[in-house]
Amino acid sequence: MSASTTTHEQSESSSDHHDHHDPPFWQKYIFSTDHKMIGLQYGFTALIFLAVGFFLMMVMRWSIAYPDRPIPLLSELPWFQMWLDDEGKVTGELYNMFGAMHGTIMVFLGIVPLAFGAFGNYVTPLQVGAPDMAFPRLNMASYWCYFVGGVIMLVSFFLPSGAAKVGWTNYSPLATMTDTNYSNIWWTGQTQWLLGMVFLISSSLLGAVNVLVTIINLRAPGLTWMRLPFFVWAMLVTGFLLLLAFPPLEVAAIMQLMDRVAGTSFYLPTDVLNNGVLMDAAGGGNPLLYQHLFWFLAHPEVYVLILPAFAIVSEIIPNNTRKPLFGYKTMVYSVMVLGFLSFIVWAHHMYMTGVGASVSAFFQTTTVLISIPSVILLTSMLISLWGGSIRFTVPMLFATAFIPMFGIGGLTGLPLAFNLIDLHLHDTYYVIGHFHYVVAPGTIFALFAGIYYWYPKQTGRMMSTWMGHLHFWPSLIFMNGIFMPMFFQGMAGFHRRAFDGGKAYEQISSQIFAGKDTLLANLFHGGDAILMIDLNIVMSTSAWLLAIAQIPFIINFFISIRFGKKVNSDNPWDATTLEWATPTPPPHGNFVVDPIVYRGPYEYSVPGAESDFSPQTEPIAEGEKPAEEGTH
């Protein structure tokens, strides 16, 4: 008898026991301390923010593709007029604002909360066999800090100054000087951005402490370190990255806040000019300081974005290939090395600042080194597919697409590691393409895979498969339609912050190359520069179509709660890890009987076993030959 059926029956019999002290609505759904509810809150909020960030990007893409036409819909709104020019076209200011907030919202309010907040919260305690997070009330505080931070960011759009507009990196001294003409410096988008960040950072710290303690101290009996699913390992490393990388950003934000509201000059050099006028500041600071502190966070942050994606994909792949994950132990060590190295590569974002030749050499080396563990992880996943009898379920579609998409993103990053090439490609669309390949078709696909995969655990119903296909295939095509041309544009020298779609680029390239007979000139002379610019329309159209491609997902998500196909057991995917040993949906306290773990996480198709999957809670039967621990 399998363990899952036992728990299911017991949950039926004990359900009346659970019902009579059901907490009131606000405690159950709003100020909940249950890690699953908090995970869902994180998930819903983050999905909404993802949509907001996507909307900002669509406005920007209109301005890039059709800089001569007024923006549809928005130009009719009276309160929006201050951001448009007299003909209703997007102004540079609006473009900057949306660009900055697109980055901020997507990274800090969308993907990290969805990946670490939602999946980390929902799945981690289940997979380690814990009744809840180690500190449930801190967990709630973490969500509400995040919520407040998000509200601050959103409210800042409606201030007279608008939201922050100095790019998501918020570099000083530009960030210090922007919007200082408003009478109350606190009520400007730039200042509110910093305040919002302080809340988001606190939220991440609380969440990280919680996840780490849960993994370290609340593991079920028998769940040794090398029996942890890879998901949990990735969350452990992500937690450490969040815990140790965010405080320096908090320092940077606090010092920038001081620069803005208290008139300090942390990031202002002596005798700095603003619009040709000597600034009223003591000076003596250094703008590089901000960049150091910022990138000390922001490079590990990239791994915070990608490791949960690895985590999700490495759960789905063994489940759908029905064979163990290839090189589990190697992957665990790789992810730890990745975590270590990610802290000493940050200055590869700063080659253009003149940080010094020897320090550049150091960071080039470490940056190239860090690609080794990343490639090991990716290769292990790829080899995991080999020889498996693959079920192409919807989560598996997204997971398999993740591998080449992240591969493109990662490999295009390698040239950027080198100082000399970076000088050419810096701030071009190439960088944008690289980063978005990692995060958009990479991480976001993995997150979709995770939603499709764990959806039946919470709802007891499967999401529709054909709607899933309708979601997946257009998304795959249009994602590539947006980001692939960016590489061509970038290599042709197209600057990322051109809000008018590159008019200056067109002018300059036709001037530079006119009448010359070189390869470059032939490529970019006159009409060909326009060809580059015409790619904008392809990309923008892809972006809008990508938005349409998300509609089946949204419909699927809500319709399936009521009308999806019912699951026939607590373990619909025939998976091995502990979260499937809980009732559906898991009650407050998760496990009906405290789980005891007898085996590794990915025991699929064990020779001699009854079925092609052996859950971790199932004792090793006679005649079975499970692989030695950690050496799949």
């Binding site: 140790l244 300081l289 150091h292 802290f343 000493i344 200055a347 003149g354 940080v355 010094g356």
Partner: protein
Amino acid sequence: MANSPEEIEKHRKAYWAVGIALFVFTGVTVAVARFEFFDFGEPGVSAIDVAVGLAIAVFKSTLVALIFMHLNHEKGLIYKILLFTCYFAFGMVLLMLYSLWNPIHAAF
């Protein structure tokens, strides 16, 4: 860990001793900085003064961490966490300073 009355008494004595040592070394730091008699190296604040002052501070903080924060008999896991943290903290400080060294100025 202090559990029996004798052990608690022993701890109490150790804490008093450490407290007094911290008081004394605070005084020494001020003396090094303020009195010419203790002024090592050049007049005014010199690198040696700073080094001595910081060495005393490190010593004091080691006392606090080992005795007051019980790091002298803590579990291995805590040491591991702190080791990670030290690696990252020192990495940050040293690499930031490294970037101050031979900056590329001529271009600007």
